[in-house]
């Protein structure tokens, strides 16, 4: 089987994208996280120069006929090997099979798109924002599909603009920024953090604020305001009510300072304010997420190794 590579040749001197090479092995699910602008450029490049098909759910489906008729058509058209009933079950469409498409919910329609792309037989599969705004059940069917694709040794590339999605969907997650492509899971915690000592933190616990610099102002945040902290380029980024502020310190330093306020390092790249956790979501491939009780209802990844810890903290066990 062939690998799938994105290299300079495909990029073909595009000014808006940094030069990079990305090799995707068979059976690998790779997620690339970037801002929307760069993502659009990348999609354009993949479509025009690479002649790849990018699945972005922008094309129409047949609104008048039923879900089953739609799936049956694609199934026959793409000459799909998997039996039709199995497809319906895999994408949890068996319950709405008789419904015409215009009466289906957004999530059901999205699962039809997944089914269509799954059956299309295009290799490699490139998805553009596949789970943006999807409900938990739909994300789970998508994960099931990825598992199935992985078993058939099919390379998958997923382009997302949300770091949590990149970490959840991809076996390997990258961040595409102005200075190239980097692997998202950085091992910055163990080495540097251990050295920093704690006594300083103890003296300030009575009156402790987190300073974040914005332009020429310094904003002081009460730790309890913070929803969660995300690591970006080795720097901690605090999320407060849908806005984010860059800090000067690393995630490791923040973890030490904030532990006493009920913060917890739930993932290499995330620290969460446990008081703001509303839900613990269990995904199908033995992955977990935490849902934060803020306006955006953001979900952040929870490492497999930390689930025990979290359950103890919330006295679930």
């Amino acid at each position: 089987m062939t690998h799938f590579t994105i290299n300079e040749e495909i990029m073909n001197s595009n000014d808006s994208l940094p030069p990079f090479t990305l090799l995707i092995e068979d059976g690998d699910t790779t997620a690339v996280y970037s801002d929307t602008e760069m993502q659009d450029e990348l999609v354009k490049v993949l479509r025009n120069n690479g002649r790849f098909t990018v699945f972005d759910q922008q094309e129409g489906l047949y609104q008048r006929i039923s879900v089953a008729a739609n799936i049956a058509f694609f199934h026959k058209w793409f000459h799909c090997e998997t039996p039709l009933p199995e497809i319906l079950v895999l994408f949890e469409l068996q319950n709405c099979a008789k419904k015409p498409l215009h009466k289906c919910t957004e999530s059901e329609v999205r699962r039809i798109y997944y089914a269509k792309y799954f059956m299309s037989g295009v290799r490699p599969l490139i998805f553009h924002e596949p789970v943006h705004g999807a409900d938990i059940r739909t994300i789970n069917t998508f994960l099931h599909m990825l598992q199935k694709l992985k078993n058939s040794q099919i390379p998958v590339l997923i382009l997302v603009s949300n770091m949590e999605h990149a970490l959840l969907l991809g076996d390997i997650a990258y961040k595409l920024g102005g200075n190239g492509i980097q692997s998202l899971v950085v091992d910055e915690e163990d080495s540097s953090v251990e050295e920093s000592t704690t006594p300083r933190a103890v003296t300030t616990t009575h009156f402790f604020k987190i300073p974040a610099k914005v332009d020429d102002k310094v904003i002081l945040f009460d730790p309890l305001e913070i929803d969660y902290i995300e690591s970006q380029d080795g720097k901690a980024m605090i999320m407060v009510n849908d806005s984010s502020y860059m800090l000067d310190s690393t995630l490791g330093e923040m973890e030490k300072k904030l532990e006493v306020y009920g913060f917890y390092r739930c993932h290499r790249s995330y620290i969460v304010n446990l008081q703001k956790v509303r839900e613990i979501i269990t995904w199908s491939k033995n992955a977990y997420s935490l849902r934060i009780d803020n306006n955006a209802q953001s979900t952040i990844p929870l490492s497999r190794t930390k689930i025990q810890d979290i359950q103890e903290k919330f006295s679930l066990k």
Partner: protein, 231 residues
Amino acid sequence: MNIQRISAIFEKDIKDFMKNMMLLMMPLIPIVLALLYKQMSNGEEFPIYFLYLNVGIAYSSVTSTCMMTMMAEENEKKTLRGLIQSPASMVDILVGKSLVVGLITFVSLTVSLAIIGSDPLLNGKAILALILLFLFFLFLGIGIGLFSKSISATSAYTMPVMLLFGFTPILGSLQLDEDGIIMTITDTFPIMQAIELHEKSSWVPLGIIAGWVLAAALFMYICFKKTMTDD
């Protein structure tokens, strides 16, 4: 050509057709008109040109219009994106849709002709003319359907096709100068040639209709090439 794909698109479009009120009305037009004429005629025999008027209406309103509308809908909603990997799959789609349109046209035409009486049309030459006429209107519909981007644009394209080629026999009743330029030109139109086939015993009218079919096929081919290179 891929039989499986053709049958996939055929099944899909038949289902879609049955749910589409706009398209379902089309085959009813010639049937309703035939019933009306029948009522008005008081049992008299219909003149030949009347039968061909009905044929023209059936072909232009069912064959051409349905084909155009179906293609335009796929173009408008971009439903074909991701399905077409090569010109061959586009041909599959066109053939599948033509089969649907052919079936509907056949039903509509048979019913309407059964109402007003089809005896004069039941000979080899006339049937051949009917088949050629069907192809002419089909090719015309495919050609226009390929480049029409939306359903609303299609209604604009439908009018000239219906008025010029479908309703040509009506022009004779407009009291225009028999030898005037308009009559001379419209006399060579396919439906008029089919009527002439019954008046003369020569095969020339069939040849002229075949010429029209070729022209429509060429038009369709050009549109096809253009859409395939555009993408």
